[in-house]
Structures are given as C-alpha cells and as structure tokens.
Symmetry: C2
Subunit: 597 residues, 2 copies
C-alpha cells in the first residue's frame, strides 16, 4: 500500500503517529512562513502543514503544487491549534517531512467543489472530474447502499439472483428495441432486452419460485429530458402468489431500504385505485403529500361517471354548460392572490404543455364574501355551492378548469402539483408511498385505432373481467370499458418508481391477448412461440414487479426525480456520451464483416 | 399465498397440521387402492396420498394427472409407515382432501431427472424444462451464493459497486466489438463493452478508490466450444496500491468465497512466474494438483535459456540433435505400459490439436533396467542420465517430445495434463490455487509482424523494464525480449479464473504504449482521447483484476471447467439461442429506421 491511512480517519487519537497519506490537493494556502494543503480522497480531507523555518526546501516544493495534483505525504499527526470541528479530521494536521508527487494535474476546467462553476455539457465531458465532487460521489456511494439493502432483503426472503441474457430476440412492443448485428449469422440481429420480462416468467416455469435481478435494460425511445437509453431495473418475480402477496413483499422491500439507507421507518403504504387516482388527482401517480383533490363541479355529460354534484351548469355560462367536465381545486389560504398572480397562473395553464383554454377562479374571502371570474353568471349563493363542493373555507382560492374530461383532469392534476409546489406542500423531508391498483388491462389508441397493453401483454385480466376480455376483438370495441388487470404501480411522492402485475400463465389466454393486440397468428408464432410453448409444460401462477433503480435511488437518496445525477456515466438528452464521443462511426471493414454494406 | 408451506419443509414436527402445498407432479404411483404423488418444487419433494376407500372421487382424479402438472393440494400432514430417510420430508406424507389443477402439462420432451434422456440441442430448446432438473437448478442456486459471498467480501473491504455504461465506443483491441446502430444518430454506432476496463480506470481518476462490479461483457469472437458471446465478469480496481496489495486482496476474496460456499479453508496460494510456468508446465495456467514437471533434456540451441542439462544430443539421433528442444515428463508407475497404450499415446500427440511429430519413451523397469524407443542410439548409461534428469525412478515411464521450443513445451504441457487425467492425479476434491506473475507486457505476432498487448494496452511495464519498453518501435524489435509487466493471473486447478495488472496512469507512457502497438496519433486521439485526457488531471496509481464469473462459479461449485451449465440461458456453440431462435431477421422498417438500408 502506498498509504497507511486514508484522508478521512485520523483524529486526535492518532497524535504522535507517523503516517503516509495519498490524495488530491483540494486547496492550498501559502501564509508566508507556513503552507497548508488540504489533501482529499473519497474518505475525507486531512490538512498537511509545511514550515519554512523547519524545512525550507520542502515548503518551497509544496508551494508550487497545483490543484488536483496527486500527492503522497509522510509526516507526524499533530494536534492543531486552530481546530475545525466541522470535519472528523479537523482536530489534527500532518507535519510533513516527505512529499512525493504521484501525478501532476492540469488546472481542472471547473472547480471541484460542492457548488461548481462548470456548466452541464462541460461537466459531462469531464465526468471523471465531476464525480470527484462530494454531492455526485455521495449519490453513487449511497446508490451502492441502496443496492446492497435491496439484495439483503431479497436474500433473506429466499429470492435467487439469476442473470438473464442480453442478446435476445427482437419483439418490439411498446418502445423500440436496440439491435445488435450478428457477424456469424449475417443479416441477422440480436435484440437487447427492454426488460427481462419473458425470461423471469420462464424462470417461474422452471420452478425458481422467487427471482430477482438488478439489471441493465435498453429502450430506443425518442429521448426526453432525464430519460436514458440504458437504465437499471430491479426485476422481481414470484410463483404461487396473488396480488396481495406481491404488494406485501415489495412494500417490505421499500421499507427496509428506507430504513437501512435513510434511517426512516415508513408507515403502511396507502392504496388507491387507478380510477380514483385519475378522478381525484388527474394522474396515475398522485403526489399525496398534500390533499387538494380535484372536485367535480359539473354533472358529467357522459353517463355513469362523476359524483352528480351539479353546481356550475345552467347558469348561462356557455363554457361550463358545454364542457364535458368542469373541475376545481382548492388552494388553501390563497384568497388574497393578486390580479398579477392570477394572470400568471392563467398563462401557466394556457401553455401548450398544459393546454387549458383559460382559468376560472373563486376567491372565498376572509370576510366570508365570494368573488369569481364569472360573477356575471353566478350569484353569491351559487358561488357558495361551488365553494362547498370544493371543500373551500374562508381565505381559500378555488381554481377551475373546463373542457374534455380526460384532458381537463390531466390539466387540473398538473395545476394541483404546481400549486402544491408554490404553497410548499411538497415537503422534501416527507415520503408518502402509495400503491395504485386496478389499472386497466388495455387502452384504446385513437391514432392507430387499436388496443394497446397498458402495462405489457403478459399481464392478466382480473377474473371478474375475463368474459369481457374474451369478448374483445382487435381494432374494434373502442367504446367498451377496458377490462381491469391485476396490475399495480408503486408511487413515492408523485414519482412512479415501480410497477408490476399478476401474469398470464395459460397459453390460450396469452394467445387471446396477442390477438386483441392485433398480432397475427404468424407474428405471434414467430415472436413468442418460446413463451407460448413454455406455458404448455406446467406454468405456475405467478406475478412480480420491476423498479426503476435509477429513479428509486434518486427518490430515496435525495427525494428528487432526476436520475442523471445517480448514474456514473450517463448519456445526454440526445443519447450521446459526450465524454467518449459515442455513438460514432465504425470502420468500413467492421461494417462489411457485419453484413451492413 | 396459494400455499402455506413449500414442498421441502414439512417434517414429523408438522404431523397433524392441515397444509396447502403447490408444485409439480414429479412421479405418481397407482397401487390400486392407493395413489401416491411426489409433489416437487424448488425446495424439495413431498408425498401426497390418495385413498380409494376414503375418497374415491379424489383418488380417481389424482390417477389421471400427468407428469409436470401444476397442483395445489390441501390435506393433513401424517407420519408415513414406510419412511424415506434420504430426504428431509421423508417421514411424512399429506393425506389430501382437496386437489386443484393449477395448470396442465404436455408430456415433457425429456425426463426431468438428475440423469435425463434428452440430448443437448433438445434440452437447450426447452431450457426452462432443463432448469427444472436438480443439477442445473443447484448450479444456479449456488451461483447466487457465490455472487453473494463476493459482494459481502467487497462490501466489508470498502469497495463500491458502480455500474458502468453498456453503450460505449468501439475501440477494437483484442477481440471484435459487438456494435449497436443508433437510430437517433444515423450511421453511428455504440459498442458494447468487452470489459469496463477504461471506466474503472476513470473511476480511479474520480477518486472512488475501491471499485467492483459483477457485470455482463461482450466479445464477438469466432466461437469455440464453451465460449459465450456474452459472459459475466467480476471487475475490480483499487487506487494507491502495488501488485502485492492486489494479490492479497483478491486471494482473500477467493478464500472467503470457498469458505462460504463450499466450507473449505484454502491455504496460502502458490506463486509462479510466467517463465517458470512455461518452462515446467508448458502453459501459462498450470494445474499444480500434481507435479510431473517438464524436464529439459537438451541444452537449448538458442542461448540463454534452459538449465543446460545436456543428455540427449550428440548420440547420432538426428531428431534430437536437430530439435530446438527435447523435453520429457515422467509418468510415475507407468513403466509397464503396453505397446498398445504407447501407440495410443503416440496417436494422441500426433493429432493436429497437439501436433507432435512422434513420441519417444523410456521405460524405467521395476527391475532397474531401461528400455527406450531409441535404443539404437542410446546405451543404458545414457538412458539412465535422461532418467535422472527426468526425476524418474524404477517403475516409471518417461515420455519425450522434440521440436521447436514453444510448440514442444506446449505439446508436453498437454501431454502432462492427459497423463495426469489418466493417472487420476486431477482430483475432483482438491483445489490448488496459483498466482502466475511477471507476465510479458507484449508478445510479437508473427503473422501481423507487430507487437500485441499480452494483457491489454493499459497494463504498466515493470519499473526495471521501463527503459527497454521506451526503446521499442512499432513493427520492429521482434528479437528483443519483451519487457515484463506487473500482470498476474489467478489459476485454479489449471483453469484461469482471473487476471489483472497494475495500470499505466501517466499520459506519456500510455501514448508510448499505443505507439508500440502500432496505433497512429490520429487513431489514438480518435479512440482513446478520453482516457489520455483523464490522465492529465491527477490520475492516481492504480491496479486491479477481473474474474470470469461464469468460470469461477463452475470451478467453485463443481470443480469443472464447463460454463454453460452455470448460465441460465446460454447460447450454443454457434452463438445462437435455440430456445428463442435468435439472432433473427428484423423488419425492413426497423432496418430503415436504423439507417441500415
């Protein structure tokens, strides 16, 4: 070893010892007679001291060193006169008597500090320097802890870590596959897995009973901010279980990880149906750190939905009379919002991302009076009814959107989150975990005029909806309510960190699913015969879940939803690695060998 | 849960309890009045009993079930009259009162038994059934344990598991890269990593200090038996270390894994230089479970090598006089080999895989007389000298090959292993671990007339050979002895399970390496600028190792060198997954999107 200790472990107890340390020059201060160097490694910072009086030559040498030089220093641990009690090593310093430059460094293109002066692209190009900064380094060290806690939980619950192949078969469904040309089989391609879905099901057919894997997956999507073409999944599956068993098992996992990594004891997770999530929060992953539910203010124009609480129609306000849905949220204590604040909110909801036509409001003033943006049509008694329906009290502000139901609920959901943020209701120190259950099995795609699997085509319909499911035809029945599935998502503070389902384990049912999704018999055979065959040889009932590991880490470690800071070497928003400059052109010879010319 | 217990846990202690079990029908026996079913899951086998007298209907139902049906049985745990003490559940049986068929099964194409009747290809096609067999299932369960033991060791030694990218840049060196066309960057490709080598070095530059990862890697090689295009590596790196630190750390890892998985305490590992391995064993990964060293019987024609023990030249036997090397091994107790046995051995060494011209021998008979295949040229005194040189005693057989040095040593090495196997010296219950050290940095490739990196181009020359290294030119100096490297392999029973080196951490030295390997400045810049840049910003001294995880598992679990049985879904020898039928053609549309048309 080139060192006897790390830069994070020496304390007053070591005073008097001669030690060797290695690390990077973080800061140096030349005070004339004395020179101080902060030597940094992954474990901490230790102060080195050089004295002109006692060792002029060495001190002069120390003065010449630049930031990020790699040093090896030998010297004696000594109690400091001016102690720094903020760091564990702050009571001591090293009086250096031997100094070795292990490597020099050019001046880094940005400062290696918690708050750096480097822009995003620059830091991506020099990622290896950005990773020297404490916040990023800590993210990765904590990610390691999350992974360890996950594995410990699975190990103690009888799960087996089985590695599944990366070179599989292209079965595009949902996102596009990345493919790999085969040199030994010219014209043919492997596909990289979007998830190990079919393999974990085959492992259940094999009798592995409980499986997990922390595994890289690949999706060739049109990139959006904070999506990565490669990402890591915690993939799990269990045999002989029902939905409740799966929820209990993985709720236990998330709790244990929070406990081990953050020291937090989470309470029992909330549960909500998909239907309620959409109705009350306008989204399938509600942030339930705060209430502010969406209130239906119109009896729906379509039949059979809503709560029938008619309070806005028939007053001659055409927008509300004609809208499929009029809905409101109540912003507590915001009755005193100014004209300017309301105008800003109106602009906000009219942005294309939200797409509302306008914003209605009712101020329920502190003195009990009511004032709305549509006073022309409504008397105070009518406004009071709306306020009651919205659970508003004196001092509150009701914000109202109207339009087509799905779009309006979504917009209200977004507005709710925005108001939650504005009002400080999305507390960084609070974790609210939620199971969203009873997802629809299918959703109708207007553009392609066909059914799509909401989760994936291996999800089982609920027993009570089996007849409905079996009655569906591909490309038809758009007006039928989709059958429900034993499918569930796990949501933390409005961020979906995982999802799963009870699977189909019966060949005929699986064939019916492919049929409903519009696959021909030939396509089904060509792409999925292996799993259909497997179902003929004693497939057990099974179900599971997959967590987005990058996102789970980002939530657990810092309660934030930004995965790039939790991945060692991420791609940028165009899917490029700017450090490597990849993807890149390859040799003509290589292309030819691969049969690509 | 569909069950209250697994099929492996009920014992006499549970007698009287009503239980629910799920599993597969392994065997059934219809004895007229009674029917017995062995119900199997991953955890074991439990006997179910059906009685015509007490429940005729249920018994008749049970009689109709086929092999591998998935069942759920409810009943009472009862002490057996005829106990099977070979299995933990053998003292009890379940008197079933409710039976549910969870899934049916076609008759499997081969028997699900320890010794099956299915051929290789058939079992590969139905891998999910093959994995139901105990030997394969145990391999994967044990593999999980090996992985866990590895992680525990690293965790307790301060290593951080950091995930490195799969989409990297094509830098062909050694094997070919697999590549992935980028749809968003038409005409450009990602490459899949042959190993995370450069990334783990960048992590050292970042200051992560100790890194590990169990990670999939990819090599597009012309496939040989028991090679896989994708394989798993235990990848490790440490900063501020010298070779000895690395050897100690990873010797500790291997020992701990053997202890935890096999309960074996291994002694301190042997060490051997590459030069000695080649000289005495004819191979860089000697199986040292047995001695049988190669003896030099000729003073070498080339200068400076060998031990000068001239005993075969100058006797008028032209083959030995002209051979660059004459070498022998001593097969203990084989003096009585018959003509037929010797002929077979001769045929064996003349096979193209070995390529020897012929086989000489000396029988050192039990009565002390000597008899050779070249008696015409050698008197008994001369034979005795050879015998002495070969450490042969009365009763032994000396086998002799002659020819060009490298080829002959290799052939002798192979013959040694063959004789070791024949003589039962390669004990399945014995583990001999060996570090082979002081590998050459480079080897000259006659075909391409240039230097190749023996390990990889990031390996550092030994300090004492630095001047020699700096004097080398690309495509020249073939006659120079290659500089030595701080490179090491770990060998268990003749199987290389890992290898590593101390790395270059200096930009100029790395540039000199690329130059010696024949890369132009432009190629170096285009392919490796990221790592050369990183070396300019304070790269610490560092080194590491990588283990072939598949092979390590195969050695630890069963002391065999056959990785395919330790991978859940392997490819066949042509790189095909015959279960998926992959690689396969992809849609024209997909090709077009990827810019491949």
């Amino acid at each position: 070893m080139l060192r006897t200790h790390t830069c994070g472990e020496l304390t007053i107890k070591n005073a008097g010892q001669t030690v060797m340390l290695c690390g990077w020059l973080a800061h140096s201060r030349d005070l004339g007679g004395m020179t101080f160097i902060d030597l940094r490694d992954r474990y901490g910072i230790t102060q080195l001291v050089f004295n002109m009086d006692t060792n002029k030559e060495l001190c002069n040498q120390a003065r010449k060193l630049g930031r990020e030089f790699v040093l090896r220093a030998t010297g004696k641990v000594t109690e400091r006169s001016g102690k720094n009690l903020k760091i564990p090593t702050g009571e001591i310093e090293i009086i250096v008597d031997k100094l070795e430059i292990l490597n020099e460094s050019r001046t880094p293109p940005f400062t290696i500090e918690d708050e750096t002066d480097g822009g995003d692209e620059l830091r991506m190009k020099y990622r290896y320097l950005d990773l020297r900064r404490t916040p990023l380094r800590n993210n990765l060290l904590q990610r390691h802890k999350v992974g360890r806690a996950v594995r410990e939980y699975f190990d103690s619950n009888g799960f087996t870590d089985v590695e599944t192949p990366f070179f599989i078969k292209s079965t595009p469904e949902g996102a596009r596959d990345f493919v790999v040309p085969s040199r030994l089989n010219p014209g043919e391609f492997y596909a990289l897995p979007q998830s190990p879905q079919t393999f974990k099901q085959l492992l259940m057919v094999s009798g592995f009973d409980r499986y997990y894997q922390i595994v890289r997956c690949f999706r060739d999507e049109d990139l959006r901010a904070d999506r990565q073409p490669e990402f890591t999944q915690i993939d799990c599956e269990m045999s002989f279980v029902e939905q409740e068993d799966v929820l209990q098992m993985f709720e236990g996992m998330v709790k244990q990880v929070f406990k081990k990594v953050r020291g937090l004891e989470l309470p029992v997770f909330s549960r909500m149906t998909y239907a309620d999530a959409m109705k009350y929060y306008g989204i399938d992953k509600p942030d339930i750190r705060f209430e502010m539910r969406i209130a239906d203010l119109s009896s729906p124009l379509s039949s059979g939905r809503g709560d029938g609480g008619e309070v806005v129609r028939g007053k001659g306000f055409k927008i509300y009379d004609d809208a499929e849905l009029v809905g409101g949220i109540c912003a507590k204590g915001c009755a005193e919002y100014t004209r300017k604040q309301l105008d800003e909110l109106t602009e906000w909801v009219k942005r294309p991302q939200i797409g509302a036509g306008g914003l209605g409001y009712i101020k329920y003033n502190a003195d009990g009076t009511l004032k709305s943006s549509f006073d022309k049509f409504f008397d105070e008694a009518s406004l009071r009814k709306i306020a009651e329906k919205s659970s508003a009290k004196a001092g509150d502000l009701i914000l109202i959107l109207a339009g087509p139901e799905a779009k309006t609920r979504k917009a209200l959901g977004e507005l709710r989150l925005e108001m939650g943020s504005k009002l400080g209701l999305r507390d960084k120190n609070k974790f609210e975990c939620l199971w969203v259950v009873d997802f629809p099995l299918l959703e109708w795609n207007e553009e392609e005029q066909r059914w799509f699997a909401m989760h994936h085509p291996f999800t089982s319909p609920k027993n009570e909806d089996m007849a409905l499911f079996n009655s569906l035809s591909p490309g038809e029945d758009k007006d039928k309510v989709a059958p429900k599935a034993n499918a569930y998502d796990i949501v933390i503070n409005g961020v979906e960190v995982g999802g799963g389902s009870i699977r189909i384990h019966n060949k005929e049912l699986q064939q019916q699913m492919f049929k409903v999704l519009g696959l021909t018999k030939e396509e089904t055979e060509q792409k999925f015969s292996f799993i259909l065959n497997a179902f003929e040889f004693g497939a057990p009932p099974h179900g599971g879940i997959a967590f987005g590991f990058d996102r789970l880490c980002s939530m657990i470690i810092n309660n934030e939803d930004y995965i790039r800071d939790y991945i060692a070497f991420p791609k940028n928003n165009s899917g490029r690695d700017v450090m490597l400059d990849s993807p890149s052109a390859i040799d003509e010879k290589q292309k030819k060998e691969l049969g690509l010319k």
